[in-house]
């Protein structure tokens, strides 16, 4: 019963998303600049694990995704064919959230190995949050983030085959 590296499994899975695949990807530490996507691991409290009477346990894996994109100080104008850069960038990050939602509906999940059944993958919010604007950079950089949660059943301690 080999333990699958869930971080590696999730990152390989997320790289299937066309929008993420175009970014420069980092895990935990990042060289921050435009079009960088950074994955940040989150510790999961065992208190929320749900044990079942057959020895299986429902667990949760969480990962925060941060997207760094240049941000503009241009006002919003009503000109046909003109799209405000900040709104377009927000839509790019929203596309990641929508992709994950679509994968959950289609039941396309990351592979956590034969001892684990993934039940769902979802984001904790419906849209990304703007965490920070770094105005010291030229052009300024905005940091957007959202967290994904993957609920899975760990069957490794079941005794019934």
């Amino acid at each position: 019963m080999a333990n699958v590296d869930k971080n590696r499994a999730v990152i390989e899975y997320l790289q299937l998303c066309p929008d993420i695949a175009q970014s420069t990807l980092y895990f935990n530490f990042a060289n921050i600049k435009d079009a960088v996507t950074q994955f940040i691991t989150l510790a999961q409290d065992r208190a929320i694990d749900t044990p079942f009477i057959d020895g299986a346990v429902r667990k949760r894996y969480s990962l925060t995704i941060m997207s760094f994109l240049t941000i503009s100080d241009n006002p919003i104008v009503k000109v046909a064919g003109y799209s405000n850069e900040n709104i377009s960038d927000m839509a790019e990050v929203q596309a990641l959230i929508d992709w994950i939602t679509g994968q959950d509906i289609a039941r396309n999940f990351p592979d956590f190995g034969e001892d684990c059944e993934v039940e769902s993958i979802r984001t904790t919010t419906n849209n990304p949050v703007l965490d920070q604007i770094d105005a010291t950079k030229t052009p300024p950089l905005a940091k957007y983030s959202f967290t994904i949660q993957i609920d899975y059943i760990d069957n490794s301690q079941k005794i019934w085959n």
Binding site: T50, P51, F52, I53, D54, W160, N161
Partner: protein, 175 residues
């Protein structure tokens, strides 16, 4: 048989296993109960009479037991033969499909071993009754297992659906 536990070690819940068996001839089906269920216990439901005499001594008579075990939630899961069987019976109100047609094994895996066999009792002619169907996000069909007390004691050789049950005694409790 002695408990196969270390001194003061608690038996984990997964070591008490309930398995339903149904069908006939060579086409019997078996399925473990309790997948995605967090808590379930066999309630013995003893029928007790007590009497206290003039000396202040209390006498207790246990007339009978009517064991029952509830599984709530009981989610309808892909691949579950029992879920398919019971949901079909419930939705078609086909009571005879679940009335007294199950053999239910209670396997005490904390007694015995894979070498000598795990302690087990078989209740013949049990009812597994769907009590409702529905729920919130996922379809759940809570069930009640009503044990018959028509008991055959024995052992099972392994902890999987294809176990072989070897009877040692027939304990037919007269109510």
């Amino acid at each position: 048989m002695a408990l196969n536990l270390d001194d003061k070690q608690r038996a984990e819940r997964k070591l008490l296993i309930t398995v339903a068996e149904w069908g006939s001839g060579t086409t019997k089906n078996r399925e473990i109960l309790g997948t995605r269920t967090e808590d379930s216990s066999i309630e013995f439901n003893a029928d007790i009479e007590t009497m206290t005499d003039i000396r202040g001594i209390t006498y207790t008579d246990v007339n009978k037991t009517e064991p029952q075990q509830d599984f709530d939630p009981f989610y309808l899961l892909g691949g579950s033969k029992l879920g398919e069987y019971l949901s079909d019976a419930a939705l078609n109100n086909d009571i005879q499909k679940y009335n007294g047609v199950f053999d239910v094994y209670v396997i005490s895996a904390f007694i015995g071993s894979s070498t000598n066999g795990y302690n087990a009792v078989k209740h013949s002619g049990c009812s597994i009754i769907p009590t409702s169907i529905g729920g919130d996000s996922y379809v759940s069909m809570p069930i009640e297992v009503h044990y018959s007390n028509d008991i055959t004691a024995g052992t099972v050789d392994k902890l999987s659906d294809d176990f072989v049950f070897t009877a040692t005694t027939n304990v037919n409790v007269q109510n």
